[in-house]
C-alpha cells in the first residue's frame, strides 16, 4: 500500500483509540476536577466494564446486537453503582484526604483486579460485535489520466469501528449538555469550585461526590463496553487505559474538560499512527515523553490554569 492510504488507515485506528481514550480520560478528569481525588483504580473500572460486558452478552442469547445493547445500558450503570459504593465506604471515611485517597484507590485496584481473577479467571474472552461489515475506502490519486478515485487493496474499515467513533462523539455531546445545561451539572460545577459554599447553598456534597465518582467510573466502563468487540476482556486490561488516561489528563490540564478532549485526540491519534507505522511500544514511549515535556515546560497542561 502507498503511504497515503496507509496513513489514512492508521488515522482511523488512531480515531478509534482516541474515542475510547476520551471517554476513559474524561471520567478520570471529572473525578479529579470535582473531588480532587486521584483515582488510581480508574483502569480497574474500565476492566470491570469489559468483563461485565462479556458476562451480559453471554447471558443474553439471540442476535449479538441484543446482548450488546443490553451491555451498553446495564454495564456503565452497574460499574457506576459499584464506584459510588467505593466512595461511600472508603473515600468518604478518609475524608478525601489527598495522600490517603491515592493509597486507598491503589488498594481498590488490587481488590478489584484479584477478585476478577478469582471469579472470572485469567482467560481473555471475546465479545461478538453487534455488526461488523467491512467497508472498502476510496483513495484519490493524480495519475496519468488526471484526478481519479481508486480502491486500494486493504484500505477498509469496519462499520463497528465507525460506530465506536460516533458513539464517543454522542456521549461527549451528552455529557457536555448535562454539565452545562442541567441543574445537576450546575451543582457539580459549583461543588467543584467551592465545596463549602456549595454546602452553604444546600448542596448535599457527599451525595454529589458519590454521583461524580460513579459517573467517572461509568464513563470508563462505557469505553470498555465499546472496546471489547475489538479487544478481548481480560483481568489485567486496566493498566494501559489508566496510564494513557493519566497522560491525557496531565497533558490536557488537570480538571480541564476541553483540555482532556484535545489531549485525548492528540495521544490517541499519535498512538494509532505510530503503532501502525512503527510499534505500540514506541507510541507509549513517545506519549510518556510528551508528559515529561509538558510537566517541564507547561506544568499546568495545555488548557489548565495556573492556580490563583
Amino acid at each position: 500500500m502507498d503511504f497515503g492510504p496507509h496513513l489514512m488507515l492508521a488515522s482511523l485506528e488512531g480515531a478509534v483509540i482516541s474515542a475510547i481514550l476520551v471517554l476513559t480520560a474524561m471520567g478520570l478528569s471529572i473525578v479529579f476536577g470535582v473531588m480532587r481525588v486521584v483515582n488510581v483504580a480508574h483502569g480497574e473500572f474500565f476492566m470491570l466494564g469489559a468483563v461485565f460486558a462479556w458476562a451480559v452478552t453471554t447471558m443474553i442469547s439471540g442476535h449479538a446486537a441484543l446482548g450488546f445493547v443490553a451491555a451498553l445500558i446495564i454495564v456503565p450503570v452497574l460499574v457506576g453503582a459499584i464506584a459510588a459504593g467505593v466512595d461511600q465506604l472508603i473515600l468518604k471515611r478518609i475524608d478525601y484526604d489527598v495522600d490517603r485517597t491515592i493509597v486507598a484507590t491503589i488498594g481498590v485496584l488490587y481488590i478489584v483486579q484479584q477478585s476478577t481473577l478469582m471469579l472470572y479467571g485469567p482467560e481473555a474472552r471475546p465479545v461478538e460485535p453487534p455488526f461488523n461489515l467491512r467497508l472498502a475506502l476510496p483513495w484519490f490519486e493524480f495519475g496519468e489520466n488526471g484526478f481519479q478515485m481508486i480502491w486500494p487493496w486493504g484500505l477498509s474499515v469496519t462499520t463497528y469501528k465507525l460506530f465506536v467513533i460516533g458513539a464517543a462523539i454522542v456521549v461527549l455531546g451528552a455529557l457536555w449538555l448535562v454539565l452545562t445545561r442541567t441543574k445537576i451539572g450546575l451543582v457539580m460545577r459549583a461543588t467543584q469550585q467551592d465545596r463549602d459554599m456549595a454546602q452553604a447553598f444546600g448542596v448535599p456534597v457527599g451525595q454529589v461526590y458519590s454521583l461524580v465518582f460513579g459517573l467517572g467510573a461509568g464513563l470508563a466502563a462505557l469505553g470498555a463496553v465499546l472496546v471489547v468487540p475489538i479487544q478481548q476482556a481480560h483481568y489485567l486490561m486496566g493498566g494501559d487505559p489508566l496510564l494513557l488516561a493519566f497522560i491525557v489528563v496531565i497533558i490536557g490540564g488537570l480538571g480541564s474538560l476541553p483540555g482532556t478532549v484535545i489531549a485525548a485526540l492528540l495521544i490517541g491519534m499519535s498512538d494509532g499512527i505510530i503503532s501502525v507505522f512503527f510499534s505500540p511500544t514506541l507510541a507509549k514511549i513517545i506519549a510518556t515523553f510528551l508528559v515529561a515535556m509538558v510537566l517541564v515546560f507547561r506544568p499546568q497542561g495545555l488548557m489548565g490554569r495556573v492556580a490563583a
Binding site: 467551592d194 456549595a198 452553604a200 448542596v203
Partner: protein, 231 residues
C-alpha cells in the same frame, strides 16, 4: 427568634470560640464587632453547620440547627454572605443566582425581586462572576443569599475593600431587608457604618461575647471602642 447559646467550637484540635451567646429578633440588625482573629467569622461558619460544636446550641424559632448536616442548615432559612464573597467564580451571574434559588426551591418571582434590588446584576447575567468588579461581586454574593428568602441573613464584612458608593448601596439593601422582617447578623469593622444601622452591638473578644450594647451606648464612648477594637 434566632439564638446562639454558649457555643464552643474551633478547627480540629484548635478551639477558637469559648462560649458565645447572642439573640437576634426578626426585623433587627445585630452587629458583631471585634478585632481581627476574635472569632466573628468562625461563629458564622459554626451557624452554617460547617464546624462541629464542642458545646452549646443554635436555635431558629426554637428548633435546633446545630448537629444538622451542613447542607440542611440553609434550607431552614439561613442566608450566608461569607467574608471575601466566595462566589462560584467560574459560573455566570445567572448561575450563581440559580444556586441561591435552588437552595429553598424559590422561583422566578424571587429572582425578579432580587434583580430589582440589584439592577446592575440584571445587566450582567451572562458575565462570569469572577470578572465582576469588587462591588458587583459583593452585590452578587448578597443577592445569592437573598435568593433563599431567608429568615436569618448572615453578612460577614460585606463592605470590606469597597468604594463609598458601593458601601452605601449595600447598606441600603441591608436596611431594606430589616424592613422586610429579616433577622440580620452583620459583622462590620467600620464603627460609623455600624452606629447608623445597628439595633444592637455585640463585642467579641478572644472567642467570647464580652458585651452587648445599644448604638447609643457606644456613640461618644471612646473607652469601649479602645477596649474591644483598639481604636
Amino acid at each position: 427568634m434566632f439564638e446562639v447559646r454558649n457555643v464552643h467550637t474551633g478547627y480540629g484540635q484548635v478551639q477558637v470560640l469559648f462560649g458565645v451567646s447572642l439573640t437576634v429578633n426578626a426585623a433587627e440588625i445585630h452587629c458583631l464587632m471585634g478585632r481581627n482573629g476574635a472569632g466573628k467569622s468562625t461563629l458564622l461558619k459554626a451557624v452554617m453547620g460547617q464546624l462541629p460544636l464542642k458545646q452549646g446550641e443554635i436555635l431558629l424559632d426554637g428548633e435546633r440547627l446545630d448537629g444538622l448536616p451542613a447542607h440542611l442548615v440553609p434550607k431552614r432559612g439561613i442566608g450566608y454572605v461569607p467574608q471575601g464573597r466566595r462566589l462560584f467564580k467560574e459560573l455566570t451571574v445567572s448561575e450563581n443566582i440559580e444556586m441561591g434559588l435552588m437552595t429553598r426551591g424559590e422561583g422566578a418571582q424571587t429572582r425578579d425581586w432580587v434583580l430589582d434590588l440589584f439592577p446592575r446584576l440584571s445587566e450582567r447575567l451572562d458575565q462570569v462572576a469572577g470578572t465582576l468588579s469588587g462591588g458587583e461581586q459583593q452585590m452578587l454574593a448578597t443577592a445569592r443569599a437573598l435568593c433563599l428568602r431567608p429568615k436569618v441573613l448572615l453578612l460577614d464584612e460585606p463592605t470590606e475593600g469597597l468604594q463609598p458608593s458601593m458601601i452605601e448601596q449595600i447598606r441600603q439593601v441591608v436596611v431594606k431587608m430589616k424592613a422586610e422582617g429579616y433577622a440580620i447578623i452583620l459583622v462590620e469593622q467600620r464603627i460609623d457604618a455600624v452606629l447608623s444601622i445597628a439595633d444592637r452591638i455585640t463585642f467579641i473578644e478572644n472567642g467570647k461575647d464580652r458585651e452587648t450594647v445599644l448604638p447609643s451606648d457606644v456613640a461618644g464612648n471612646g473607652a469601649i471602642l479602645t477596649k474591644y477594637l483598639g481604636v
